[in-house]
């Protein structure tokens, strides 16, 4: 049995970069997908609204772990082999699209109807209304829940370890299997997640309180 030395600890901590990279990739993928879902969900076309609503329900009503398993196995059915990294990035992006889409739909719909009507009266069409009138107002409202979801997403990347992607949690398991110091190792890893997530949570909470004050 190996002992837990600085080499092992460095191996674990170096794996943080994969956690962060996966979080960033999934957040970018989720942002792109989320914009599409939010526009479909808040738009005028009934069929698209239904599709977006179904997509959101599907991802909110099933475990993320199952979504990752399916992201791993479904591409194989169509003849594409994905590695754990690709499956994790795909699964988390689709997951984030649903949740960010729902958050942003909410933010768009909080903007009063009068804003739409008055900008229409000024002769603006949909895209210009969105760009100049609605999005700037929705953006401020969307920040706290979006950052809050980013924290969820960073924590969620730990599940990529179950489909075999070596990020922070998986690295900890690998070292734990060799050294068997679970309390120290998982404590250290938990602390690492905490150091990443806590400032974001605190920021999200502060922005929320600021908005609540402004709304009074």
């Amino acid at each position: 049995m190996r002992s837990l030395g600085s080499g092992e600890i460095l191996f674990i901590l170096a794996a943080v970069r994969w956690t962060l990279l996966l979080s960033v990739v999934a957040f970018i993928g989720g942002t792109l997908g989320g914009i599409v879902i939010a526009l479909m969900r808040s738009g005028h076309i009934k069929a698209l609204r239904w599709v977006a609503a179904g997509y959101i329900k599907l991802f909110q009503g099933t475990p993320l772990l199952m979504q990752l398993f399916l992201a791993f196995f479904v591409p194989g059915i169509f003849g594409f082999d994905v590695d754990p990294w690709g499956a994790a990035a795909l699964g988390l992006s689709l997951h984030a699209s649903a949740f960010l889409g729902e958050i942003w739909r909410g933010s768009i719909q909080v903007v009063p109807v009068g804003q739409w009507e008055s900008s229409a009266a000024l002769g603006l069409r949909y895209w210009n209304q969105m760009r100049h009138i609605v999005v700037p107002q929705a953006f401020r409202i969307a920040i706290p829940p979006t950052v809050g979801f980013l924290v969820q997403l960073i924590k969620a990347t730990s599940l990529a370890s179950i489909i075999g992607f070596v990020e922070l949690t998986r690295a900890a398991q690998v070292i734990n299997n060799a050294t068997f110091q679970p309390f120290t190792i998982f404590g250290l890893v938990g602390l690492t997640y905490f150091i990443i997530c806590w400032p974001l949570s605190a920021y999200s909470k502060r922005m929320e309180q600021k908005l609540a004050l402004a709304a009074r």
Binding site: L58, Q60, G61, T62, P63, L64, L65, M66, Q67, F69, L70, F73, V74, G76, I77, F78, G79, V151, K155, A156, S158, L159, S161, I162, T169, A172, Q173, N176, Q181, P182, F183, F186, G187, V189, G190, Y193, F194, C197, W198, S201
Partner: protein, 223 residues
């Protein structure tokens, strides 16, 4: 696409899937019930307790909310034996879920406590309501109305999150799926069906919770 689907081998194990689903429901219900006891105690401690206790409760909430559940369950299952507490996988799963949902529950319950309007209690007294009527109509019902949406969605989140307990081989639905696919290697079919079962459970709870809300909790429309 020349993949041959074989769902038959999955449905042949229907008894395992049913048992797994029931275990998931039991695990979710039990940890929600115990977690709510933790949440109520925590919320009371946080609103009225001495400063060190409040500080401790805050630390607990922040620690749980800012670390992955997977790490929490590893700490309970692999970490606790290092300090002499050895738990079965199912016990560890229950404990980890309770610790997790308790932290989220404290904030929900506290919001419920804060939603109670003092002026309305006084108004109730002035109208000559009995103490029990005041508690039931002015304290309890509005507080439940205030927390009901977050509490019910927390339960569904908890149920979906319990699939992570398969990582320590606790017996629940995802664990059953892992067992079945390790025998017949029909990974896609097994996980597809099990995802469907989870979705049906979610739909069921969404519907039931909405019905309860409509039947008991809605205020009559103001005239």
């Amino acid at each position: 696409m020349n993949y041959v689907f074989e769902f038959g081998q999955v449905f042949a194990a229907w008894d395992e899937l049913l048992a797994g689903a029931l275990r998931t429901l039991w695990l979710s219900a039990a940890s929600m019930a115990i977690g709510m006891v933790v949440a109520v105690l925590g919320a009371l401690g946080k609103t009225g307790g001495p400063r060190p206790l409040r500080w401790l409760i805050d630390a607990y909430i922040e620690l749980i909310r800012n670390t992955p559940f997977l790490i929490q369950i590893f700490m309970v299952f692999f970490g606790l034996p290092a300090v002499g507490i050895r738990l079965e996988a199912d016990q560890a799963a229950l404990l980890a879920l309770v610790i997790n949902v308790g932290a989220y529950g404290i904030e929900i319950i506290r919001a419920g406590i804060e939603s109670i309007a003092k002026g309305q209690i006084e108004a109730g007294r002035a109208l000559g309501l009995k103490p029990l009527q005041i508690f039931r109509l002015i304290v309890l019902k509005p507080a439940i109305q205030a927390i009901y949406p977050s509490l019910t969605s927390q339960f569904i989140l908890l149920m979906l999150n319990s699939s992570v307990c398969s990582a320590i081989a606790a017996s629940e639905l995802t664990g059953a799926a892992n067992d079945i696919q390790s025998r017949n290697f029909r990974s896609f079919e097994v996980y597809f069906v099990v995802t469907g079962i989870y979705f049906v459970l979610s739909l069921m709870f969404w519907t039931v919770f909405a019905l309860i809300d409509r039947a008991f909790l809605r205020q009559p429309a103001p005239r």
